[in-house]
Subunit: 154 residues, 2 copies
DNA sequence: TTATGAAACTTCAAGCTTGAAATAATCTTC
DNA sequence: GAAGATTATTTCAAGCTTGAAGTTTCATAA
């Protein structure tokens, strides 16, 4: 997946693009993961879940989290379990539907996330420092249109 | 990591870009993983290792693979172990340095990979279909320059 | 109301991933 | 040539990830 095209032909440019995309995101992701571990003793998946919850003070269902973060249901269960055991989020039983529970950041969780997110934004700025703000905007536009064209198919 | 910026400010555009980049690669990666599983009963990491080996008929050391694929040494050990037990690659002891061994595709491995790679290239072409060849080239250029500026630091 | 089906989660096995510790072989330097 | 450092790799524990199977709860329609 990270190796170059093994042939020439029509799809070649797109394959190159995909490999570049993947290498870039893997490189950045690895660096962020390492810093999260070293500086805050946390992980990327925990950070992702907390970021989602931070933007939804009213809370999210497990399935909301799963859909939003593009990961499986069972996966979210495990991550939330760990965050709960660390006192960073809570699962609140709901009166309406007893199958579900609202997941929310605790006060400590929100405070903790705010600090991590500030550092995180700085890191991303640093790691993408060679991309100008303007170029960043254009790239984002391309990727956005790709996503919105593609998602929701099947 | 997949959620939006939680603040405004200088690094914001780069953070947006990073989130788009990550969502795009995760979406595509998930789709490719699923198809590899369904159509060829294999996985992305196995495919990655085989792709690297396919381009190096003389073989690669474990550490070459690790460096090239951007994953840890211990990780490669496990994946190669599984490929060996499936008869797709071999570990050849070397006379020169008995710490290392050359990893190579078997004949069956090369045949198998060629078939998977053809399908894979088609999938990528399909999944990135909304990006024109020309746009793909430009995007690739941007990502390439980003990578080469950034890698090799520290 | 009571089956029947759908929805929201959890559990589980298998595999991927890292970073740290352990092994083994090679290199360096005195 | 032996001690100490370096290099290549494996092993291991902990956590992430998926997809499938299982559980509980809710919705619906005869």
């Amino acid at each position: 997946m990270v190796a170059g095209p093994t042939s020439t032909g029509p799809g070649k440019e797109r394959l190159r693009l995909w490999i570049r995309l993947l290498r870039a995101s893997r490189t950045i992701e690895a660096e962020l993961r390492e810093r999260l571990k070293k500086e805050f003793d946390t992980t990327l998946p925990r950070f992702d879940v907390m970021a989602a919850l931070y933007r939804s003070p009213e809370g999210m269902l497990m399935s909301d989290l799963s859909r939003f973060l593009l990961v499986s249901n069972g996966n979210v269960t495990g991550i939330v379990d760990r965050l709960v055991s660390e006192g960073l989020v809570t699962r609140a039983r709901r009166n309406g539907d007893r199958r579900t529970s609202m997941v929310r950041l605790t006060e400590e969780g929100a405070k903790s996330f705010a600090a991590i997110a500030a550092a995180h934004e700085g890191w991303v700025g640093e790691l993408l420092g060679t991309v100008s703000e303007d170029e960043a905007r254009r790239l984002t536009g391309m990727l956005k249109s790709f996503r919105s064209n593609w998602e929701g198919r099947e």
